[in-house]
Symmetry: C2
Subunit: 144 residues, 2 copies
DNA sequence: CTAAACCCGAGTAATTAACTATAGTTTCAA
DNA sequence: TTGAAACTATAGTTAATTACTCGGGTTTAG
């Protein structure tokens, strides 16, 4: 039971944008270097995030990417759903359009997966990018 | 973010054994038929569960499989960990021997994965096979 | 006009998932 | 004592997914 690197890397990149949130866009290359990610690969992730409306892009020289909304208003769940698809420990309890099997009515394991799904979604939707940035700052302070 | 069919099917099969828990072993074939699973595939899952000590086998005619402990004493988490490995939304927060990346100290996303891991483990470890069987019974009664 | 930057689509190697198959061993029961 | 039911072990196979990689575009500040 793993998230793929899409969710993992994508969240890192989004937090990088959150930490540099401001007026000027951040070039993909600098995000990739700071987070040690393949630029080619990150491009794909940013494309997904842009099409989903979580980030905006500015083309041309001095261009780059920036969050479409302030970090307080973007939840980890938003990012993960774009990159990994809807939360669903098994397909039959998918958040969106679950393909229920023919045994759905009496499937005895169903309750487990529903609880799990809700628990996962609960965690992901309770944390904003800003929450994490604050936590990271605190951490650095406490290490000083 | 999905569990594989190992965890999914394996839990179904374990619950089948729980529902038939008693003195006599249940042949694999009958579990496979009731749960509509490939017998060949289920064989592999049962082998893993047996080696992990969750089920016992009886060879020969009239043989089969049975839970090694009563359903109250087997948690969903026990089954899932045998079949899917340790709970770990990403490798660096694996329950067992996490391969921490070189950025572990200052990795900003880490807190998310830890919370998620603990939340998932919490759900899986809070539900026993007996809990689910009881729920299923109740469900059937309420539908009458 | 040129270089920095995003945009888009395709290709690809490696891994994993999900079975499938085959040959063997144990045990009961007729 | 032998045949069939059942578990045991290991290997093969096919398809999908993952995690990139690459090449050629377009936009725009300076």
């Amino acid at each position: 039971m793993r998230f793929s690197t899409k969710g993992h890397y994508g969240l890192k990149a989004m937090l990088d944008l959150a930490q540099h949130y401001g007026a000027v866009p951040v070039p993909l290359k600098s995000v990739a270097q700071r987070q040690r990610l393949s630029g080619y690969y990150l491009e794909q992730l940013f494309t997904m995030l842009r099409k989903a409306g979580l980030i905006k892009s500015v083309r041309g020289v001095q261009g780059g990417y920036m969050l479409a909304r302030p970090p307080e208003e973007i939840k980890v769940g938003d990012v993960i759903r774009v990159l990994e698809g809807p939360v669903a420990p098994v397909e039959c309890v998918n958040e969106v359009e679950p393909k229920e099997c023919d045994q759905a009515d009496y499937c005895i394991t169903r309750i487990v997966w529903v609880k799990l799904r809700d628990s996962i979604a609960g965690v992901l939707d309770s944390i904003s990018l800003a929450d994490i940035c604050r936590g990271a700052q605190k951490n650095q302070q406490s290490q000083e």
